[in-house]
Amino acid sequence: MKLGFTSTDEAFRDEIAGWLAEHLLGEFEHIRYRGGPGDEHAYFRERRAWEQAMAAGGWIGVGWPEDMGGRGYSLEQQVIFHEEYARAGGPGRVGHIGEGLVGPILITHGSRWQQQRFLPGILSGEELWCQGYSEPGAGSDLSNISTRAVYDAGKDNWSITGHKTWTSLAHEAEWCFVLARTDPASRGRHGLGFFLVEMQQRAITVRPIMQLTGTSEFNEVFLDQAICASEQLVGEPGQGWEIAMALLGFERGVSTLGQQMMFQNQLNQIITVARRNGATADSQIRQRLAQAHIGLKIMRYNAMRTLSGNMVDGSLNRAAMISKLYWSIWHRELGNLAMDVLGPEAEVAAAQPYELTPLQSLFLFTRADTIYGGTNQIQRNIIAERSLGLPREPRMTG
């Protein structure tokens, strides 16, 4: 066991910190700490420009292999990159779905053509992606998807029809990866395909859904015979589930340590409030602040274990299995603590008619952390069945 990083890694830390300090200025100064879950609507145009500035600096895809246009950084270096980015208050990345999910899945499962067509757009920050999994009838039970894809042999393309929902950033993205049924007779995990679909076409309608924050970052997406060229199907028809699951595996990656740095920024903000308004004299608040600090430290140690050990070979160890359940509970409680530290002040919003303060947004948006990406109940099912080997829930038939 060895804590801390090598001197080469620390030199790299200085490099990225230096670059950020030089570039998060001027037109980008005011987007520091903005964006990200709950604040995704903020300064979207500026953050798109920032994504391209990052691309120009060569900071997108740092963990991708070099022959795919990435920089082939070690795990440690990727961790440092994400930590420094969050420490500097780097804005929520508008390209995170492309960089974190689509890129990795195309690198492992995509065709040569798909890699050449789609990776450059992600690396240049010019093409944004969204995730078209959930449907009105397929939430936790994702395999219950009913969106259909029909192959037209004459045109050699697919025609996709269905209704996706909760699609984050669909109103901004150029591309969407869509899980759809290629075999109309199939059910459940069989007969699905994984499609790369262009959003700019008449057959696709995006309707924003207003969230409890009064803002919209997710949408309903209606596909009415949307066209998808045959080379934009990843893998084979019927392989969709396998690919969709492989992609979800990337969600538990190195970026968690960067996410924790963002959490640290939020906790620091709450401590500042507590110092200012005297909440630090309240023994219950003191206990909860300490609890938050303890929880965040242990989240970091859990992530260090995940990254050091068995993750390297791709197998999910126990520390990785609990990661989503752990951080979502912690973060949701942080939002709650923020309100309780503020006390009566917590009520007052930033402006008319309904502009929320950052801590109010934190409180409200963290209610979603325990829902998206697999609800906490689903996480517990998975942990109980896969890590502990407890019997599966019987499925109703009919």
Binding site: K2, L3, R286, A290, H293, M304, I322, N381, S387, P394
Partner: protein, 388 residues
């Protein structure tokens, strides 16, 4: 950065698990619980002379093995899992640590050698009666006399105090409070002026004694370093002990999860294993989260303990990491044991099933060296920059 066990550490863990399965299975634990001293003397002799576990983190210069606190915590985790009844924790986590940090060269030379060669048992007496922890809990007072010091007062809950050969005593200069005026002394347990009374304990796997000092006269030989200013040393010893106890608690948190999963896979009601009911599966998943997070907290703190013992760059994190580990592991062990009992149904309430032994150990462990709230308050002071 590498936060995983080395191959050697893996081997230590596996061989400790194998060994303890032999000497500290249920039957052995229950037999030891019935003995007057609370442990099997032959097993202790075997552990101290054959396995030499008490030497793990003692430097080679003092006849130790010169391994680290991580290795020690690996052993303690296994002892917690097996509820080992032995004066190991008191000897090593309290006594040896006190000698390493506060012992004079002579005391180290003499006593660490005795621990190494003869399996000499150590204990540490610190807190007086009442609901206090840390330095504030020290109530026994010392006065300086022409020939040394004179101690008077009572230690309420001395782990393995009844069976120890030597005892480290924490006392304060008469009239001081808090961190002020602390002195540490080490003395043979049968010294005149020391009276020991074994206490009947709810957790029968770990014994306590009440120790009274009545005009206990000690000379320079018994006096440890920085007398009158040993508050920081005592705090360090207690943090090291806390990390060791957190490792035991990790073992408890994991073991009760395993017992429970095995049980609910087998036990059938309503025509199906009760472990297929989501109400139980979700509790089991939460127990896994607690146990895995406890593991991360313990081994991070163990790395920091090594830094502290070797004055490494992260040494200043000792108290923080100890309190993080203890606040988390105290709860994790107790909550997991309590859920384990519930998930065993009526069987969990019986004497014959082992769950109650873990529940009792977990509850007792919450109240040594600071309960969860005490450790969280210590963290709050660090977090808010209120430490002196």
């Amino acid at each position: 950065m590498d936060f995983s066990f080395s191959e050697n550490q893996q081997i230590i863990a596996e061989s400790a698990a194998d060994y303890l399965a032999k000497v500290s299975g249920t039957a052995a634990v229950r037999a030891a619980m019935e003995t007057p001293g609370g442990f099997d003397v032959a097993t202790w002799q075997d552990i101290s002379s054959e396995m030499c576990w008490q030497l793990t983190h003692i430097p080679e210069a003092h006849d130790g093995l010169g391994l680290g606190y991580v290795e020690l915590c690996i052993l303690l985790e296994q002892m917690g899992r097996n509820l080992l009844c032995a004066p190991f924790f008191s000897t090593v986590c309290l006594g040896v640590n006190a000698l390493l940090l506060a012992g004079t060269d002579e005391q180290k030379h003499h006593l660490l050698k005795a621990v190494a060669q003869d399996g000499t048992r150590l204990a540490m007496a610190c807190a007086g009666p009442g609901r206090h922890w840390g330095n504030e809990a020290v109530t026994v007072e010392y006065e300086t006399t022409s020939s040394g010091v004179l101690l008077n007062g009572v230690y309420a809950h001395v782990i393995d105090g009844q069976t120890a050969d030597y005892i480290v005593l924490a006392a304060r200069r008469a009239g001081t409070r808090g961190n002020q005026g602390i002195g540490l002394f080490v003395v043979a347990a049968d010294h005149a002026g020391i009276q020991r009374e074994a206490l009947p304990c709810m957790d029968q796997t770990r014994r306590q004694a009440r120790i009274s000092c009545t005009n206990l006269e000690l000379d320079a030989e018994a006096t440890m370093r920085n007398v009158g200013h040993a508050g920081p040393l005592l705090e360090q010893v207690l943090s090291l002990a806390s990390i060791g106890m957190a490792a035991e608690q990790l073992g408890v948190a994991e073991k009760v999860l395993e017992l429970t999963v095995d049980y609910i896979k087998e036990r059938k009601q309503f025509g199906r294993p009760v472990g297929s009911f989501q109400a139980l599966k979700h509790k089991a998943a939460d127990m896994l989260l607690q146990a895995e997070s406890a593991r991360s907290a313990v081994y991070y703190a163990a790395c920091i303990a090594d830094e502290a013992l070797r004055s490494g760059p992260l040494a200043s994190e000792l108290h923080e990491s100890a309190s993080i580990a203890r606040a988390y592991c105290s709860d994790a062990a107790f909550v997991n044991a309590a859920e384990a009992l519930q998930m065993h149904g009526g069987a969990g309430f019986t004497w014959d099933f082992d769950v109650h032994l873990y529940l009792k150990r977990a509850k007792a462990s919450q109240h040594y060296f600071g309960d969860g709230a005490w450790h969280r308050e210590r963290i709050a002071r660090i977090l808010l920059g209120e430490t002196a």
